[in-house]
Every structure is written in C-alpha cells, then in structure tokens.
Subunit: 161 residues, 2 copies
Amino acid sequence: MSTGSAPSAVVITPKALLAHWQGHRRLTRRVIEAFPEDQLFSFSVGAMRPFGGLAMEMISMAAPMVRGIVTGEWDQSVTREARPKQEVLRLWDESTQQIDTLWPQIPPERFQETMTAFGQYKGVVCDMLLYVIDNEIHHRGQGYVYLRALGIEPPPFYERH
Amino acid sequence: MSTGSAPSAVVITPKALLAHWQGHRRLTRRVIEAFPEDQLFSFSVGAMRPFGGLAMEMISMAAPMVRGIVTGEWDQSVTREARPKQEVLRLWDESTQQIDTLWPQIPPERFQETMTAFGQYKGVVCDMLLYVIDNEIHHRGQGYVYLRALGIEPPPFYERH
C-alpha cells in the first residue's frame, strides 16, 4: 500500500507513554481515595478481590517493573495484604515518584528488547509496560463497579490531570 | 540526564499498536460471547449500563474513529440499542475488518497531528486512539464483574490470540 505507515514511524514516544500512564495513575489514585476506609479491603462483587487488593497488585507491578527494566533486578516484595487507606495512598505516591525517576533511565533501544520480568514473564519490554498499564485500567474499571454498587459516584474516566 | 530517552525514540510503531488493539478486541469479543443472550442488554450491577450497551459504544467508537482519522469524515451513526448477541458479534467482526483495512492508510505523521473527532473531541490523534483502546479495556473490566456476578468465569485477561 503506497499510503501504508512506515514500520519505524513514531506513534508514542517514551515521554508521551510516561505522561499517559501517570495520567491514568492520577485517576486510579482518585478511585482508591473514593473508597470508604472500611470497604477498601472488604467489599467486592461476585466473590472477586476487593479494590484494595487490586491496588496493591498495581503497586507491586508498577515501579518494580520499571526498576527491573532499568536495572535488571526484579523485586516484587510488596505484599498485597490489607492496610489503612492512607498507607495505600502513601505507597502509591512513592511509586509515582519512583516511576518518574526511573523512566528516563530506560535506554531508548530497550523498549524493543526482550527481557524476562520477575524471573517468569518473558516478553518485549514495550509490551510488558503496556500490560502493566492495561492491567491497571482493567482492574480500575472493576473498582468503578464496586463504587457504583456502594452507591458512590466514581471520578470521571476522562479526567487525568 | 545523560541516560535519558531521546524524545524521538520509538516505543510503539503503528503496526504494533494495531496488533495490540486487535489482541484486546479478540478478548473483548470473547467477553461478549460469554454473556447469556438474555443478560447481554439487561443485566448490570449498581445501575450501570448492561454490557451489550457498552459493547455497542465500543463499536460506535472504534472503526468510526479510525475512519475519521483517515478520511476526515466522522460518522458515529451506529445506535447502542439492544439487539441479538449474534448481531453484536457480526458488527464487531465487521469493525475488526474495517479497522484492519483503514489503519495502514493512516499517514505516519498524522499520529502526532491534532484533529477534532466527531465534531467535538479535539486532541492529538495518538491520544484519541489510546482513549478508544483504554475505554474498551475499562468497560470490559466492568463486564468481567457482571460475568462474575452472574456466576460465569470470564476469559483470561492475558489471552489475546
């Protein structure tokens, strides 16, 4: 096709992908905040995991993934057990800063390289980062249902500032 | 930062982003299929929209967005009303083919251009495409909760083949 995209055309730069993700992370933080303290690690629908557990899964994946991509050291030692909402938010904010610090240290060519994350997930770095982002969006969407089921209006999906 | 990523480094090529999205679309199709016919447009949790309505929203956004980006013509005339599951799946498959045909016609430079989609959403093309993909992941995550609440096991999140 004469109008076909060149395979090397830039769709998303590293800087834009980080900004995109951090926008999502700001929204996810607001979803954590929206949960009542006593429901964060107890309420769920359909015998699924409560949102606090899902948020801790996100925390255990996000900065550790970026750190592993930069350093080759994979540490996912954050536990997913229940803790006060303020502690979840503190860990969230700590992750946000760590991601901002680590991300510019990813060598540009590494995004297309294959790595084995956490000793078990082999894949192209770019795909692994998208997986972490997509997993956050997926579980946050579940958090929206939990909030609605609790009679709480979730934050608007399109607000990422 | 001496180790900082070059702003022009490729994180995702157009071809890779299409493959990523079509992988998500295969999973979303399986979620539509997993709903019992009589629950697709009736069941929901927390007074939210049933999954059939969410799937029709996705159909009304996906191919029409790519077509608009290619042609500058914006048509979102697919209605979101209830219809048989087989008809939703047929429209889904039709969209899949349209996206595959239209996508390679997006000029590479257009991904960074600003357009106004459907006469009202102004943004960078790349961000608008990510929005459509993210919106699909978000609502599909809600579909997972509906399925669990119905006692149905959803398809694995990581299977995109």
